[in-house]
């Protein structure tokens, strides 16, 4: 693994302010596309302090991901709606002495190309996560970009 960037966690107060920025201006991704967020994305995970503190990782993951995959659902009902899942991943450390975490940003791509935030989390099993993603269409690979 390359050197893993350190991105400090947000305090709970900072996290809310950061998220307000996401709701108002969206989150720009590595292609300059805007990912829409709404306050429900935040309030429905408010019980999870560690997830809230990682709000500060959302935009860096969207803008400078290690990899991005596009998924088409296996479910007929979802395929009919032509909703696809766009997943961004990035290895991040919260501090120098902390272990790296595989941070996952789940975004849905609607038929018009509009992007909507769905979820963000640290993977419990990074190997399984990467194996699962590897079955999708890879849109971006940081190593191939030479970054």
């Amino acid at each position: 693994m390359d050197e893993v960037p350190i991105i400090p966690l947000a305090s709970l107060g900072e996290a809310f302010q950061i998220f307000v920025g996401y709701v108002e201006g969206g989150i720009l991704d590595f292609e300059g596309k805007r990912i829409e967020a709404d306050f429900g994305d935040y309030t429905h995970v408010i019980h999870d302090e560690n997830r809230i503190k990682r709000v500060s990782w959302i935009e860096p993951t969207a803008q400078e991901p290690d990899g991005v995959w596009l998924w088409r659902s296996r479910k007929p009902s979802k395929r009919q709606l032509d909703i696809r899942q766009q997943t961004y991943i990035k290895w991040i450390r919260p501090a120098k002495k902390e272990p790296p975490e595989l941070f996952v940003l789940g975004v849905e791509r609607l038929p018009t190309g509009r992007l909507r935030l769905r979820s963000w989390y640290s993977a419990n099993n990074p190997e399984a996560e990467l194996e699962k993603l590897g079955k999708g269409e890879q849109l971006y690979d940081r190593r191939r970009q030479g970054r």
Binding site: S122, A123, N124
Partner: protein, 143 residues
Amino acid sequence: MTVEGKAAEMIAKHVSAISPKVREVPEDIVDIDYYQNKDILYLHILPYRSARLQEVSEDFFVCYDWDNPQQIVGFEIHYFSLLTELDDPLLEPYLEMRFDVVDSDLRQASLREILTWARQRFHNQPSVEPCLTSPLPEIESAK
């Protein structure tokens, strides 16, 4: 789980089978939260804890305790209204887990039963009909 823990669990289950009012050991209790705009069902095993997630089947996430990656502390189901099949073998071990559900009469219900109940509660549809809870203009126009 320790022998004592296992014994306590067995006693609790036995006691709860006799009378749910005389339990001496608390059962696992889940609180359910549904985010209609994104069609996500959250099940939190109380008390609330931070979690790392793993998608064990498409749109079905298991939440593991942040500090104990073996301990399940909840579930997160995306596109809940589109969850049409519960026969995925990968889900089987989770669907048989049993919980009491906050603000409901459900006691020691299997996760499978809880999901069926949640579907009726949040979508009022006992049978499975794919739909979005809040249709999006893009989807409507794309039809």
